[in-house]
Symmetry: C2
Subunit: 351 residues, 2 copies
């Protein structure tokens, strides 16, 4: 029997994390009688006087939001990272190692209206969001080693407020995932003399099996090693872009267009406001800013949990937590479905 990727289970290697993923395409037939997600529809009011992210509302700590008209940034009222905390004492016991952590957590509202999401903003409004990201990044990257801009979208992804917003957590240290990626990218560069993701972009542009969206400056693929069902990797085509603040005006415009198209496709996949966690990764900053960053390419990762419909998600649980990630449909099948969806017209315009 010949091997057929869409029929036969196999494993794929993620060169960014060094982990293997189990792909079991034949498992799509499995019936589902487990937890159902409540499909996210966008039926919120524009303004909710009780929502602490809305313009003009007084937050729990007594601060009043300005009547903002585009983006609005403030320090998280319940941050996981504070700026000034004492450092734990060092231990020479390898089983009880601690280290310090300083940082700051900010929240950024994308738009004054609660019933907006990135795919329903105009390209111009998304550009404003990207410019606000760059402004924050410029400031925070001076002080912090890692500035993580991320969006948790939808209740299924632990988002506790439906107003369109993202978070920016900045840390005095290189987080575990960033450390691993930095090491793997550096090793590849040492061996091949080119950034890993530059090679990857080139090869995906030739193979054309996993492409979802592309323009002059960016490429979105379901990566060969995707672990979530409709996971995507949004890559800068030019590896000279190391961090979000390396983008010039036309690249900002093209990033806005790619984000809009990708998130419209996501929403159109199951006709719902598609949940995901996403974030940008680029070369470290702060005290590491002057290190050689030749091995880095600026990119974003989208981790969306839905598998078969607006209410059936993939759970990364027992086997996945204890052994390794597992997926059902192949990355190529996922890419084909996303590629073939309308990326211009949001499903809500038909309703």
């Amino acid at each position: 029997m010949d091997f057929v990727a869409t029929e036969h289970q196999h494993q794929r290697f993620n060169p960014l994390t060094g982990q293997w993923i189990l792909v079991s395409p034949h498992r799509m037939l499995r019936p589902w009688s487990g937890q159902q997600e409540a499909p996210q529809k966008n039926d919120l009011p524009e303004f909710d006087p009780k929502n602490p992210l809305c313009p003009g509302v007084v937050r729990q700590n007594g601060e009043k939001n300005p009547n903002y008209e585009s983006t609005f940034v403030f320090t998280n009222d319940f941050p996981a990272l504070l700026e000034d905390v004492p450092i734990p004492p060092a231990s020479d016991d390898p089983l009880f190692q601690t280290r310090g952590a300083r940082g700051t957590c900010r929240v950024m509202c994308f738009h004054p209206k609660s019933n907006k999401t990135l795919p329903t903003l105009t390209p111009k409004e998304i550009e404003t969001v990207i410019e606000a990201w760059i402004k924050e990044f410029n400031e925070l990257s001076k002080k912090y080693t890692w500035v993580q801009i991320f969006e948790n979208k939808g209740a299924a992804m632990g988002c506790s407020n439906p107003h369109p917003h993202c978070q920016i957590w900045s840390c005095s240290f290189l987080p575990s995932e960033a450390e691993t990626k930095d090491r793997n990218l550096r090793e590849y560069f040492k061996k091949h003399g080119r950034p890993l993701l530059e090679d990857y972009v080139k090869k995906e542009l030739v193979k054309r099996e996993r492409i979802v969206v592309e323009n002059e400056d960016f490429l979105v693929v379901v990566p060969f090693w995707a672990c979530w069902p409709f996971e995507t990797l949004l890559l800068a085509r030019d590896s000279k872009i190391k961090r979000i603040n390396d983008l010039n005006a036309s690249q900002v415009r093209n990033l806005a267009l790619v984000i809009k198209e990708l998130t419209i496709k996501y929403d159109n996949l199951f006709n719902c406001s598609f949940p995901y966690s996403m974030g940008f990764h680029g070369a470290p900053t702060g005290e590491l800013a002057d290190n050689d960053a030749s091995h880095w390419t600026f990119h974003a990762i989208y981790y969306p949990p839905l598998l078969r419909s607006a209410s059936v998600r993939k759970f990364m649980v027992g086997f996945e937590l204890l052994c390794q990630s597992q997926r059902d449909l192949t990355p190529e099948q996922a890419a084909e479905r996303l590629r073939n969806l309308d990326g211009k017209k949001h499903y809500s315009e038909n309703e």
Copy 2:
């Protein structure tokens, strides 16, 4: 200001995975207006003629379950791993690496009654379950490199059938998590001449800050590096026990008692059928069975998602997926709460 672990954010190192965890105890005050879990109560009927795991029921594939009276094992009707599949062709491109995967997935019902769970079984009935695990392990470990016994309990942990059951996935390869753990345990052994978890057990027995349950043969702690709010590590006190099938009759009895006490405490924490994913880890088997396993100690890990109540869980999303795991209360606080709970009487006996 002096460092106080229950007040000041810090990081802890997991020597089994090589990953850091961010601990932010001050964040427990954060309000929650996100997704609410439906608390799992045990109000199922004993028997449901539509449930494919119940005795005497005909499953989707036409097979009829026997009228089993204790445990019952069958091959998963929709397995992620099949025994005989062709192997993908080798690639010399480091960005498109695949490898083969063979295996088998079994389901084990713990008890004929759907409204039972491990904490409400008698110690004797739990012993029967452990003996069934050992029987399966004996058979599967001859052929497979890794035999993963795991239980996904509760809809919040992706469990698609409420009948008390676990799964056993066996693989022809060492999964990523097992590979990392094997490497880290071996390195520690090389350096210190003793198994890592043997040293860890000894130290936790002296410190006594993180102990939840203990008896002659087993110790349950919230590990120093716990990442889920009430995560626990169930350790064999004797590192001569490398795998589940090394247990003798009295160790089986003591494991049953420890499982019963731990899971009663879990249920009593928020007065609900406490969701978790759990599984056993021990030295590799199959073609790796004859390798030196001195560095291994048999243990189980429990990953429960609930954080503050039967309906508020911890989400491992944006920052956690992109950077590193984050927890709110400290492992010592979690251990103290679990330790102080009744481990003998299940909350349902009071209702």
